[in-house]
Symmetry: C2
DNA sequence: CGCTCAGTTGACGAATTTCAAAGATGGTGG
DNA sequence: CCACCATCTTTGAAATTCGTCAACTGAGCG
């Protein structure tokens, strides 16, 4: 377990001072938990009345059909907050899995709902995070229902890029990408085979390239936006926090 | 505009005393707004920092791709609460449309974030509503990505039935259903034509019947659960409030 | 060196969309 | 009460997209 001092040195705290710092200012003894890549933190239908604040790494929320098919509902990135359960809804709707090694804080209901003025400010930030998560899920659902394979893959890549860029983890379209094609298929609702074909097509057309096995390079954001049906500026307003600096 | 007296007489207040009554106990002068079927309340990308409490009727949250294809993200039913925007995320991710004549209350950020003890209780209820909305969207997204047409349509019918039954608006599988096949296609991610084929198949197999044009009768819940890949008890725990009576 | 796992590619088939046209229903105004 | 109109539903046939199956490749690792 680590304490505040360590937290504030993390790149996340530097990039997103408001949420992480605000929380730590109130809960000075917050316990930081860690999990390695591939670890399942919570299973669908488990008891859960808490929330989660991700400090480092990638986390997937997913669900499974009886036949074993898995769909990733949302991916949390460093600095993100998620409501997992509530006192009146104490069941986790999703399985939560670490897509990379992660560091996170578990937030209990009582740790955010108090009358103190600082908590009021904190709740306001949490509400924003929830709205942005809903916005991401909505965009995903839209393309799942009405978009083709190219649209879904382009959207996924753009979403990650835009969110990572805001916390300095994507530069000029280049970022570390800890999901393989099978996982990307679970996120986009496609088979791993079709994800492969779509990525290869993008690569042939020069839209993307993958310089290393664990990273990706987006070369033509305009083309991706066209394919995904996204207006990049409007999209940023919808899924990024208004920086308070 | 109507006041508390009228509200408490509504079937919703009787069925869900906790949320609606708790809110009205704090905001005694809450203004009730109305809208007729088909009316758009908010457009995607509009400014919005508020929430909404639905008293009567059905409301759809939807998004549109540049080519005009529409996907319904979630449907609110009487008694439901939804976070539309937040102070730190003041953009509506969805277009909000009345699927039937509706009555609702607009809730501003300041009306729920105060230090008072009653507001603490109210926020706890709101948090539960948000978790349940996320659970519904997750179930929908799962079937959109990995389910076939029968699974999606069966899920949609079951979701409406289970939620309506909890507020006495579905009895023995019979309920008023204000969506046409085109709208149901927007919800399930199918063309209206394929929704039609799927419904007709269900009807041929005796799983459902539609006694009037605006109502539907679910005859075989077990068969629908099998098709949707749902465990009805687990599903109820996930998307229904724990009644406090 | 051989093992395993992720990625790649082609051929085929199944599910769903699109297009087109024909019924059914309900509302409206004469 | 009837005729007409717009909207919704139903059905068939053709086209498309994507999944499945199977085989092959290539990288990492003991």
């Amino acid at each position: 377990m680590q304490k505040q001092g360590t937290l504030l040195k993390s790149p996340v705290a530097a990039a997103y001072p408001t949420l992480v710092e605000t929380y730590l200012h109130i809960q000075k003894d917050a316990a930081v938990e860690t999990a390695e890549k591939g670890r399942t933190l919570i299973h669908e239908d488990d008891f859960a009345d808490h929330s989660m604040l991700l400090l480092d790494g990638w986390v997937a929320f997913s669900k499974m059909l009886p036949d074993g098919e898995i769909q990733i509902i949302d991916v949390m990135l460093p600095g993100d907050f998620a409501l997992i359960g509530a006192v009146n809804a104490p069941v986790a709707a999703c399985t939560i899995e670490a897509l990379s090694d992660v560091r996170f804080i578990k937030i209990l209901p009582a740790q955010a709902n108090g009358p103190e003025v600082e908590m009021e400010q904190l709740r306001s930030l949490f509400a924003g995070e929830i709205v942005r998560m809903q916005a991401r899920t909505s965009e995903l659902l839209l393309r799942m229902g009405k978009g083709n394979a190219a649209s879904r893959v382009a959207y996924a890549l753009l979403e990650f890029h835009v969110r990572l860029e805001a916390i300095d983890l994507s530069k000029d379209g280049y970022f570390e990408f800890p999901m393989n094609q099978h996982k990307l298929g679970e996120f986009t609702g496609l088979s791993n085979v079709h994800v492969c074909r779509t990525l290869r097509r993008f690569e042939r057309e020069g839209i993307i390239s993958h310089p290393t096995y664990t990273a990706i390079q987006l070369n033509d954001l305009d083309a991706l936006c066209m394919l995904a049906g996204i207006n990049l500026d409007a999209f940023r307003h919808e899924i990024l926090i208004k920086r308070s600096k």
